[in-house]
């Protein structure tokens, strides 16, 4: 491979002065740059390889995709240029370490894995919502800001679903990085956001066990093994890995994308709520698949064609829906109406996750200590009622979770919950429109006004309200 003569400190490129060498990657070098009009600390990325078509087109892809990205989970784009002679991209300098050194310290404590994993999942979800799949997620491509937010870098293999895919048919070898590449990428599929969830699973696996889930495969034949071989379950390598974490990791590493999490937000949700993770056979398994199952998978892997679904379609299928359930007595009629609406929402979105949330009101001042007997009882009682309310929805355990929040302001608690869990849709009841409630403002009114997502407000049909009043 022919290497370009590397740039040097002090060199000027399009008015940017290279002030400091930062990093050398496989395909490019990074330099701190200065220019009078720059308003932020910036780096310039310069390709170092001239005659590798993947590298050349990859840089072109990055120049195309980066200007369209925004938010805290990608470096801010500044400029791209030099198409004729010396191509470059100037972007925000992220002053933080990558996830790479954490591999050497692994296995990490479970709480740290959950925090890091949730941060990466959150960044991925943000990227997916911008119609982009990373397709080369690995520890060296994840940086952390000082506040702990993950930043994804290197979009050279990325796929923007609304742009032409310059890498689509161009190359015969699978595009990705051996230890992290998903089975469908091995089969040249480049439009499924769940490929990134597989890579996330491979990262979590390494952090939890200190080992790579699939080794370091060097040939396409070795890569294809992940189409039918399951990795050694994490708990077999590290007994300290709790069943819930093994469940999350193996759920991400499912061979068929259809069997993985529906979205990165759902992964973040489980990493943030270990107690709510529904344990399936994944959590219990201790060895490789039985031979018969392996053979079946191997048979399927020959000529396998994965289900195709693009980012937008997949995210629409896999929302996190919150049912805000009030369980006070006057609320009973509304409970049925709320359940009927939730059922409709879930029916149309097959990968949706339902979080049933109920708020226990506490005093604003003073201590409602949740540790005392009475407090604990109230909490458990509410949880049991919540599960009872949801029973007739007949959801499989991995699709529903139950949360009792304790807060002085129910609306605020629901809004906070929706924000921190990247909820897509809240379904909430509203108890008619008495004069007093209009004056004070109801919970649902505030949720509608301030929630960061769509809100469906459910009312009891007027006829039923009248009947209830007549019989009272």
């Amino acid at each position: 491979m022919e290497r370009l003569r590397p740039p040097q400190v002090g060199q000027q490129i399009d008015g940017y002065e290279l002030t400091q060498f930062v990093h050398r990657g496989g395909m490019a070098t990074l330099w701190r740059v200065a220019r009078p009009d720059l308003t932020l600390a910036a780096v310039m990325k310069v390709p170092s390889i001239q005659d590798d078509p993947t590298a050349i087109v990859g840089f072109e892809v990055e120049q195309m995709v980066m200007p369209l990205l925004g938010g805290p989970h990608v470096p801010r784009f500044v400029a791209a240029g030099g198409f004729d002679a010396q191509p470059y991209i100037v972007m925000e300098y992220i002053d933080g370490a990558s996830l790479r050194p954490k591999l050497d310290q692994s296995p990490l404590p479970v709480a740290e894995i959950a925090t890091l994993g949730a941060a990466v999942a959150e960044a991925l979800h943000d990227l997916h919502q911008q119609h982009v799949i990373h397709l080369d997620l690995k520890p060296s491509n994840v940086l952390f800001r000082a506040g702990g937010q993950a930043v994804l870098v290197d979009f050279g293999l990325a796929r923007h679903e609304r742009l032409p895919d310059l890498l689509a048919e161009e190359f015969r070898l699978p595009l990705g990085t051996g230890p992290y590449i998903s089975p469908e990428q091995v089969l040249h599929v480049r439009d499924d956001p769940r490929s990134d969830l597989f890579a996330l699973g491979a990262i979590l696996y390494h952090l939890a066990t200190g080992r790579r889930a699939f080794g370091t495969p060097a040939s396409v034949r070795a890569l294809r093994q992940r189409l039918f071989r399951a990795p050694t379950p994490p708990r077999a390598l590290n007994p300290d890995c709790p069943p819930w974490l093994q469940e999350v990791i193996l759920h991400c590493l499912e061979v068929e994308a259809e069997r993985r999490y529906g979205s990165a937000a759902q992964v973040a949700f489980d990493l943030a709520h270990p107690d709510s993770v529904a344990l399936t056979a994944r959590a219990q398994c201790t060895g490789d698949l039985p031979l018969a199952q392996r053979l079946r998978r191997w048979g399927r892997s020959i000529g396998a064609m994965p289900v195709r679904r693009n980012v937008t379609q997949q995210l629409l299928r896999a929302p996190i829906v919150v049912a805000a359930v009030d369980l006070s007595q006057e609320w009973e009629a509304l409970a049925d109406a709320l359940r009927a609406t939730v059922r409709r929402v879930l029916q149309s979105e097959p990968d949706a996750r339902l979080a049933c949330v109920s708020v226990l009101k506490t005093n604003r001042i003073g201590l409602d200590t949740p540790t005392d007997e009475a407090g604990r009882n109230r909490h458990v009682q509410r949880l049991v009622q919540l599960q009872h309310w949801a029973r007739s929805l007949a959801l499989p355990p991995e699709r529903a979770t139950y949360h009792v929040l304790e807060a002085p302001d129910p609306a605020e608690a629901i809004i906070d919950y929706a924000r921190s869990n990247r909820v897509d849709h809240i379904v909430i009841g509203c108890r008619g429109s008495s004069g007093l409630r209009r004056y004070l403002g109801s919970v649902s009114t505030k949720v509608v006004a301030e929630a960061p997502c769509s809100v469906t407000v459910v009312k009891v049909p007027r006829a039923e309200t009248l009947a209830a009043e007549a019989s009272a």
Partner: protein, 248 residues
């Protein structure tokens, strides 16, 4: 500088008006019309007068095969129903309108941009860019980095990198596409006045020269009115149906 690229207007006043209004709203300050202003539709006079005004203000307007037929060139090259529309159109045109059509060039070049009605290798032959093979043929002979091409009624974007392999992309309306300077591009904005991809909404595109962003648009318009006028003019009914269904 935002260039609005409109082609194959085909005497459809309702569609043309809607696209012009949409382009103005989206900041277009330069207009390029890639030909086929007449034929199939019932409002050739209004469409041509509007184009004459735009050209007087600096717009580019090319000649299409239906325009050539309308001034008596290119005889015997149109299908029967298209010829029937042209025969209806011809006596309606004023001297000024005919002169305008006669002066239209087949292609125009502006820096890195090439405008053609049919294709870049032989604009006068009016062969179609049906797919990647023809798109590649056109891009390989062009000096320009980006070719904008009419004649095909379905929107499509072709591109060619260093290995000269041509790929196609069905654009998503309203999503800007950065046209990387490292490759060649050929864009078919699709027809304003007679879309044929199953969607009756009018097609056109805008290109921002500064940012290199190309955006394809679909503009809904009163296609039922345009279809009614086609029937009233006595054109073959399938031409009205085409406007109602978009050819689905």
């Amino acid at each position: 500088m935002t260039i609005a690229l409109m082609t194959d207007i085909h005497a459809n006043r309702e569609a043309f008006e809607a696209c012009l209004a949409h382009a103005a709203e989206h900041g277009a300050d330069q207009y390029v019309f890639l030909g086929d202003f007449v034929g199939y539709g019932a409002d050739p006079e209004w469409v041509l007068d509007t184009l004459i005004e735009h050209v007087a203000r600096g717009a580019v307007a090319l000649m299409g095969n239906h325009d050539a037929a309308a001034i008596g060139e290119l005889s015997g090259r149109l299908n029967t129903s298209a010829q029937q529309c042209i025969d209806w159109t011809r006596p309606r045109l004023s001297e000024e309108q005919r002169a305008f059509l006669a002066q239209r060039p087949l292609a125009a070049e502006d820096g890195p941009l090439l405008y053609v009605h049919a294709n870049g290798w032989d604009p006068a032959g009016f062969d179609y860019v049906f797919g990647p093979a023809e798109a590649g043929r056109s891009m390989r002979v062009a000096h320009a980095r980006i070719t904008f091409c009419g004649h095909m009624h379905e929107p499509m974007l072709y591109h060619m990198g260093l290995p000269q392999r041509v790929e196609s992309f069905a654009p998503i309306p309203g999503s800007p596409i950065p046209l990387s300077a490292a490759r060649r591009w050929l864009a078919l904005p699709g027809s304003v006045g007679q879309p044929r991809d199953g969607n009756p909404a009018a097609c056109y595109a805008t290109f921002d020269e500064l940012t290199n962003l190309l955006t394809f648009w679909r503009v809904p318009y009163d296609h039922e009115r345009a279809a009614r006028k086609v029937l009233e003019a006595g054109f073959p009914p399938h031409l009205a149906r085409l406007l109602l269904t978009g050819g689905a």
